[in-house]
């Protein structure tokens, strides 16, 4: 089922508001809503679920206008960040809850369906346990089975791995991807972890301040960031203010050579990834920078350099054999970078 969100606005007291947001979710895809906290990603998910109603705009489920539909009528599956399992019910009863409410078949049919789902999430042996007897990862899987039980038109997950430790997170992530490939549910999940979003999702929607900044695949987001926000939010970036001489960007009055990506040609902010920065002898490049700090890491030297007279810090990782010292001057060459208007 494809979902269209058209011009949705939702005002709140402080954060998490949506401001005229548009988004198309394709049938069967796994899409991530990625953004800093307060960007509105959870609110958007709750608007799709019907747990919040927008002040303006429409939500379409396929051809159907679902804007006014109550949450019970939308047939969605929702997995909460902290699982929200029913504490006083066994795993079996938790998963069966939706089926019983919706009267999906007889007692034996429900039992069979719950068994199937518990097999799917590899918890068949845990049916009689209570949530408090399960680990975090197991609880998350119960929550998923419960959400899948009613055969939802769309599966919505709010920070599904937020409360788990790193190792379980990675395993569960891979497992969820496989599960999605097998069941083919249209799935939307919220995360603030860009690595998680890009590894797991077919497409990533990046939110900022209640609006979508960009929707695209990992390649789109990394290689063709649509806005300065996307460029700086996804992956490490440094930015310096530059002018433009008609052909080349200039920094503090001196034009420099670089491969310019993106459409904008003119003064603005020049964004560069650390791997595209080269350190040379002072004077060998158009831009001079002052080395602020040098720290040893497992793989090399983490070096912070501020170009020209600015306080901007460009953080790059140099080879272990590099001979930079804090307080000295170096030349900086930018192999490629992207210009955005300010």
């Amino acid at each position: 089922m494809d979902i269209r969100i058209v011009g949705v606005s939702k005002a709140f007291g402080r954060t998490g508001a949506l401001r005229g947001l548009d988004l198309e979710i394709r049938a069967g895809e796994l899409i991530a809503l990625l953004g800093p906290s307060g960007s509105g990603k959870t609110t958007l998910l709750r608007v799709i679920a019907g747990l919040e109603f927008p002040d303006a705009g429409q939500v379409y489920f396929g051809q159907e206008d679902a804007t006014g539909l109550a949450v019970q009528e939308r047939q969605i599956g929702f997995v909460f960040q902290h699982y929200a399992l029913f504490k006083h019910m066994t795993v079996f009863d938790n998963v069966a809850y939706g089926l019983r409410v919706r009267r999906h078949g007889t007692k034996t049919e429900i039992a069979a369906r719950v068994g199937e789902l518990l097999d799917l999430v590899q918890l068949a042996d845990f049916a009689a346990r209570y949530p408090r007897q399960l680990s975090g990862g197991q609880r998350q899987r119960v929550a998923l089975a419960r959400a899948l039980a009613v055969d939802p038109r769309v599966l919505l997950l709010d920070e599904p791995f937020g409360a788990l430790d790193a190792k379980i997170r990675r395993d569960l992530r891979r497992w969820l991807r496989e599960l999605h490939d097998r069941t083919g549910h249209t799935t939307v999940f919220v995360t603030h972890d860009q690595e998680e979003a890009i590894e797991l999702a077919d497409r990533v929607a990046i939110l900022n301040g209640g609006r979508i900044e960009q929707v695209g695949t990992a390649d789109d987001i990394y290689d063709r960031p649509a806005t300065a926000f996307v460029m700086s939010f996804v992956g490490d970036t440094s930015a310096i203010p530059v002018g433009f001489d008609g052909h080349r960007p200039s920094f503090e009055g001196r034009s420099f050579d670089t491969c310019l990506l993106g459409p904008h040609r003119g003064p603005g902010l020049f964004y560069v990834r650390p791997r595209d920065v080269e350190v040379t002898a002072p004077g060998a490049a158009a831009i001079t920078g002052k080395v602020r700090t040098v720290h040893r890491t497992a793989t090399g030297l983490r070096t912070q350099i501020s170009p020209g007279k600015t306080d901007t810090l460009i953080e790059i990782e140099l080879d272990n054999s590099a001979t930079v010292k804090a307080g000295t001057e170096v030349g900086l060459r930018f192999l490629r970078g992207r210009l955005f208007e300010t």
Binding site: A49, L51, V71, Q72, Q75, I76, G77, F78, F80, H82, A84, L85, F86, K87, H88, Y97, G98, V101, R102, R146, A147, A149, V150
Partner: protein
């Protein structure tokens, strides 16, 4: 209290002597003010033997008092259960105007002297009161009858269930209810399958406290009851009457029943806490 191992001694821990003294003082206080009275009640009640003790309950007035008290409890506790659950549900799960006013009002019976609570009903329903003439004209008797006693009891015991549930429900938030919503459940079903089971122990404890207080309420009931022997005398009022008549055995026998109720409540509370330790301890205020 739940059974937790004592923390290891730290620099802030008092010396053994100090600790011993403090504990002794606390225990002595408890013995003097709580344990001793209970012992006195039972020893006075049984002063002339078990036979005399049991005989006092054969008195028709005593029986009437016990029956009246049980009737009052049977009416006021279920009503307060419903009111309390409704009020805490509204306060914990919804935002509305006047919410803090409602919370303050629920606490009112705690801060008002029970005698004043009783007087309110006299002023409202007494023959000189606001509705008195009208009620009299229609032959409805509230004061010096069962309705007045029930009203006064409900007023005094109103906070017990609500006060027990509000913090519990607030702490639990609405996540479980939202989960049930997404699974297709609606209002009443969510309430009975999710909300209520989540607060079951706290609710039971609130009802126990409410019952104990409803049985034992003296001040408010005393004002509205009219002390008609065998008709509007509840157990606590009957204790007073017997005592004033120097009928000590009967007075203490009746008092022993009320004490027993208190002990049962305490025992039940302990059992509940063993089951349900941390959540209950956190939210118990009274």
């Amino acid at each position: 209290m739940s059974q937790r191992p004592l923390p290891p001694p730290t620099a802030a821990t008092e010396r053994p002597v100090t600790r011993l003294c403090l504990t002794a003082i606390a225990l002595a206080f408890l013995a003097l003010f709580l344990v001793l009275p209970v012992i006195v009640v039972f020893s006075e009640a049984l002063a002339k033997g078990v036979a005399v003790y049991l005989e006092t309950f054969d008195d028709p007035d005593a029986r009437a008092a016990i029956e009246l008290t049980l009737l009052v409890v049977a009416i006021s506790v279920p009503l307060n259960l419903v009111f309390g659950v409704a009020a805490s549900w509204a306060i914990a799960k919804f935002e509305f105007r006047g919410k803090s006013l409602l919370i303050t009002l629920i606490d009112l019976p705690f801060s008002v002297s029970p005698v004043v609570s009783g007087l309110i009903y006299v002023l409202l329903f007494g023959s000189q009161g606001l509705f008195g003439p009208w009620l009299e004209a229609h032959g409805i008797k509230i004061l010096f009858a069962l309705p007045g006693i029930v009203l006064a009891t409900i007023f005094v015991t109103f906070p017990f269930v609500a006060r027990e549930l509000i913090p519990l429900m607030q702490e639990q938030g609405s996540l479980d209810e939202e989960a049930a919503l997404t699974l297709g459940a609606r209002g009443f079903r969510i309430f009975f399958t999710i909300t209520l089971p989540n607060v079951a122990w706290g609710l039971l404890y609130g009802v126990l406290l409410c019952t104990a207080r409803a049985m034992g309420e003296f001040g408010a009931v005393s004002v509205v009851s009219g002390h008609i022997r065998g008709v509007t005398d509840t157990m606590p009022l009957h204790v007073e009457i017997l005592y004033n008549e120097y009928n000590f055995v009967a007075a203490f026998a009746m008092a022993s029943l009320l004490t027993l109720m208190a002990v049962v409540t305490l025992a039940a509370k302990t059992v509940l806490e063993m089951h349900y330790g941390d959540a209950l301890a956190r939210t118990t205020r009274i």
